[in-house]
Symmetry: C2
Subunit: 207 residues, 2 copies
Amino acid sequence: MAAPVDIPDIVIGRLPIYLRALSQLADEGHDITSSHELGQRLGISSAQIRKDLSHFGEFGKQGTGYQINHLLGQLKQILQVDHEWAVALVGAGDLGHAIARYGGFLERGFRIVAVFDSSPEKIGRELNGMQILPADDLSTVISEQQVKIGMVAVPARYAQEVTDELVKAGVRAILNYAPITLVVPKGVHVQYIDPVAHLQRMTYYID
Amino acid sequence: MAAPVDIPDIVIGRLPIYLRALSQLADEGHDITSSHELGQRLGISSAQIRKDLSHFGEFGKQGTGYQINHLLGQLKQILQVDHEWAVALVGAGDLGHAIARYGGFLERGFRIVAVFDSSPEKIGRELNGMQILPADDLSTVISEQQVKIGMVAVPARYAQEVTDELVKAGVRAILNYAPITLVVPKGVHVQYIDPVAHLQRMTYYID
């Protein structure tokens, strides 16, 4: 399926959430769902879900709902996660260790193929079956293995520098765990994992 | 400052991002910034930033920009993070360990005061200066210490059950690291940390 080019990014951002909810429904043994049921699970209106999906075609029949497995497959194709992606991880501290060991990445199509660190005590050690590589080898390894996705798990003060190297080596998508805003050239995508920002969004509402 | 009641949640969601960028600017030694400079850093239009902030009052003078420290203080008040929050962490696996050891929570106003796990091998062990408590004690400890924020770092299949207990014990805001959508009563807030969803949002764009 050719990806339509003019879909708002906010719609694209909801597709992984639909994918997650559909996988959950499938795991629970359901075969069919509706925009209503999905919406209730997600706190999103069923109209919004139907509108989002309508950008990509016709997935459900009026009155019969969605075939979960079919819709899962279609969403995976749209998001290009119907095949495995190689990922480079920079930073092998506590956070890097947790990321490397987290089974959920591979389960959902992302294989960490290399881990880098600049600390001499860490380089050469094993982490989840990989040997931690020196940060100096970053661009060679990433270019050679044509890795397009990087995860940044280094202290905030190094995050921009690491990002620049990743981008130079050919990385197109960066998941940044450092609590700073990164500057990247056009055509490179950044997403942030900042749990404190999520907490601060909720404290606003606590009486 | 009394929080106005009718601010769209999407605006509230951007305030922590402004807070983060302003802290970064202050760390870099800046005293003053503008909606233009902030917007460039964040990839958000300056008009949007001015509009978001205008919900809460007048923070900058036309032509002279924002006093960074003043705006930081105001945003912290608005988000109610001008004082420290106690947080309970459920799950002391790899992820729970990384969360407990991550210095960024305390630095930005969130103190993990208790860690729970149900595994007999983990209970009683030390984690970042805390003793891991049995999950059975969760509701007592949380009620007694009046903890309002919980972090869920347990396997997906236990996440809803843990959430139900947290809510029953008085928790009002949950940061969920398990890749499932949680059901909570009205008045309880949930935010999700799902790195795979962020990756999937970016793979859409990679040629």
